[in-house]
């Protein structure tokens, strides 16, 4: 592997960068990082439905006239054409996150990405298209417990079987970007964040456990949780848009010193609030997922296919993670340590609890 130089970037500070999902949890930090690095010509795309407070927060990040706030819908080809006009780098964060319906997630991730890629085709200035994907796309079934999940791991061949709209949409989105790279020469990079946490996203990762059934079922046990603090994640995404010599590469984003699920839950209970939880051993959770999957098939979908072996492998199988490629090729290092990140996250959780 080739070690990178500090300012080995593909664009100059006055080149135009488009950030989709710019008012979002990660997007707003990416914009701030780019500004801090001196890239002042940023076009921030946000949906017309974005809350005005989020737009105002973004506007406050820079007083210069070159931070463009662009209100548009990626489902509109006209908006995509206008948004990509003259841009050198596209950082594509907008996605159908939180959608439970497959068609909605697909439309807001895949159709939007296709529109954006099509709009980029005629853009001679484009030097990089950064596609923000997710760990959700990996198929973790074939590896033995405790094996390392890195960028060489296969992605889901049948994402529809996971019963998770987000996984399906993200897998198809990655396929779309790769296809445009191969067939149309779009210079792309794919980044796959793990569980992004921090103030603004206070939910406990499903990799720790689920509270669906009233009692919190702790499923992660001794598994490391692939956390990445939102500022660290944003730093990696920004670098993926800037660094030279990484076309066609995939980068997983996780922090150093990952806590185990058990450790995370213990800290959460100590620092935020106490609640009852029940640890489910892996063999039991695997059997439960298998049984749920079989019942779904037998009953022709009387229960939603929310739990199955594919999801268990992705979420609750013991797996180790690495950020070696991220450090080597992007020159990334965490801006916030996991200890500080968790502290900040727990403080935000406590504040939220105080308001509730």
């Amino acid at each position: 592997m080739k070690r990178t130089k500090e300012n080995d970037f593909i664009i100059r500070p006055d080149d135009l960068i488009l950030v989709t999902g710019a008012t979002g949890f990660i997007g707003s930090r990416v914009v701030r990082i780019l500004l801090n690095r001196g890239f002042h010509k940023i076009r921030c795309l946000a949906r017309p439905s974005t809350q005005p407070s989020k737009v105002a927060a973004l506007r406050n990040q820079a007083t210069g006239p070159e931070l463009q706030l662009f209100s548009g819908n990626l489902l509109s080809r006209e908006d995509c054409a206008a948004a990509t006009k003259g841009v050198a780098v596209v950082i594509h964060l907008a996605a159908g996150r939180g959608e439970k319906s497959f068609p909605d997630a697909f439309m807001n991730s895949v159709v939007t990405t296709r529109n954006l890629l099509d709009a980029c085709l005629g853009n001679q200035r484009l030097k990089r298209f950064v596609n923000v994907s997710s760990f959700a796309v990996y198929n973790n079934a074939e590896k033995t417990q405790g094996n390392l999940l890195d960028e060489t791991c296969p992605v889901e061949m049948h994402p529809e079987a996971r019963g998770e709209a987000y996984c399906f949409a993200k897998t198809k989105q990655d396929e779309m970007v790769t296809e445009y790279g191969k067939e149309h020469g779009i210079p792309y990079v794919i980044v796959r964040p793990g569980a992004v946490y921090g103030p603004g996203n206070l939910a406990i990762s499903g990799r720790v456990g689920i509270g669906t059934f009233g009692l919190f079922l702790h499923l992660g046990g001794s598994n490391p949780i692939p956390l990445t603090y939102v500022d660290n994640c944003a730093e990696a995404i920004a670098l993926a848009g800037l660094r030279a010599g990484i076309e066609g590469e995939v980068f997983n984003i996780v922090d150093d010193d990952l806590p185990s699920s058990r450790e995370f839950l213990r800290l959460y209970k100590r620092q935020v609030k106490r609640f009852p939880s029940l640890y489910i051993p892996k063999v039991v959770s695997y059997c439960m997922c298998h049984l749920w999957e079989r019942y779904c098939a037998w009953s022709q979908g009387q229960l939603p296919p929310a739990f199955n072996r594919s999801r268990w492998n992705s979420f609750w199988k013991k797996t180790d993670y690495t950020n070696e490629k991220l450090k080597e090729r992007l020159g990334w290092k965490p801006v916030i340590s996991t200890q500080d990140g968790l502290q900040s996250y727990f403080e935000a959780c406590r504040a939220e609890e105080g308001h509730a």
Partner: protein, 374 residues
């Protein structure tokens, strides 16, 4: 084998495909969406033979017997008309059409061509709705309905559907003459229409934007609606749509001269209301026991259906689709009488005309004749 096609591959098309694949004797021969990627994603996730972005091509190549139209409401009439003209039976998602005269046009065309058509009022075919219908038909009420109350609520908050709708001034819901209400209320109105005897009931509607919407600067969308419906026979009905009241009810109450019934769609419970009272203090103690027994009976029935693998969230849709296919294959009446579809459309037209006078300007008055042709 009945050959089925689906036009429009958004969220509700998933429910259609899921239920169709549970029905024996039919196959999905094609799915179509103006956006080819949307058609392909449905094709990839369900046993579907082919996908298209051109409906004419699909009808020509796949040769479906029945087409399900699951597009946004503004396209329902034109697409359904095209399918009928192409010789296909049609299942149109709710709301059937934007205006009553469009509904009349489709039904007339279906009758002319010897084809069948229905609409997606699947809530009327859940287990509990069918139990209620059977009780009404058996004379439990002691007469025709004296009064009915239909609640059909929808929770609006800053996230999800409402967030997208409120922030997007170009959202397709805003282009509907009745806007948000037009896309949602037909289920609740159809429950009343089923039991009305008059073809021209009087409709008085009052609608407004809730304080929640106003606080977000929204004045165009009406999300609180109260309607009084009455007919010459003396039967009356209230219809309530609310985005703010809690619980967010989906409930139907029907009262006759002797007894009443309460259907809770969310809990799938049906409760009988006795018309007579017990004497003195007995009225305070015995009815609660009777209600408790009825609720336990509902629990038993629901569990039985669940264990029999017949309690899917969209069980009403499966029953409606199956009944519609049955009516095509066996030449029996359609599951939703055309009169009921037209009456629902007529009541909705009357509501929207009162909420927005512009609605009545584009609506043509068509007498509600030949309603019983089905």
């Amino acid at each position: 084998m009945l050959r089925i096609a689906i036009v429009g591959c958004g969220k509700i098309a998933d429910s259609h495909a899921s239920q169709i694949q549970r029905i024996k004797g039919c196959e999905i021969v094609g799915v179509c969406d103006r956006e080819p990627l949307m058609a392909r994603q449905l094709y990839e996730r369900f046993p579907v033979q082919a996908y298209y972005s051109d409906m004419t091509l699909m009808l020509g190549e796949s040769r479906p017997d029945v087409v399900h139209i699951t597009t946004p409401p503004e396209s329902h009439h034109d697409l359904a008309r095209f399918c009928l003209e192409s010789g296909c039976h049609v299942y149109v998602e709710k709301p059937f059409t934007l205006f009553e005269h469009d509904a009349q046009d489709l039904i007339s065309l279906a009758n002319e061509r010897g084809l069948k058509i229905t609409t997606g009022h699947d809530d009327q075919f859940t287990h509990v709705a069918r139990r209620m219908r059977a009780l009404v038909q058996s004379g439990f009420l002691g007469s025709g309905p004296v009064h009915m109350e239909s609640y059909y609520c929808y929770e609006l908050s800053d996230t999800g559907y409402a967030g997208a709708l409120l922030g997007d001034k170009q959202h397709w819901i805003r282009r509907l003459p009745g806007k948000l209400l037009q896309n949602i209320i037909s289920h609740g109105v159809a429950r009343i229409a089923e039991f009305l005897t008059s073809d021209s009931p009087e409709v008085i509607a009052h609608g407004f934007s809730s304080p929640f919407l106003k606080s977000r600067g929204e004045t165009e969308i009406i999300d609180e609606l109260r309607v009084i419906i009455s007919e010459d026979s003396g039967a009356t009905a209230y219809f309530t749509f609310s985005s703010q009241m809690r619980p967010s009810l989906h409930m139907f109450r029907i009262y006759g001269k002797k007894n009443g019934l309460v259907l809770d769609h969310d809990q799938e419970t049906l409760i009988k209301l006795r018309g007579t009272r017990f004497k003195s203090y007995v009225e305070k103690f015995v009815p609660p026991v009777i209600f408790a027994k009825q609720y336990l009976g509902n629990l038993r029935t629901n569990l039985k259906c669940f264990l029999a693998r017949d309690f899917h969230m969209k069980s009403g849709m499966k029953y409606l689709i199956e009944s519609f296919y049955g009516s095509i294959e066996e030449g029996t009446p359609v599951p939703i009488p055309y009169r009921e579809i037209l009456l629902t459309a007529r009541i909705m037209d009357a509501i929207f005309a009162q909420l927005d006078p512009k609605h009545s300007q584009i609506r043509e008055e068509i007498p509600l004749q030949s309603l019983s042709t089905s």
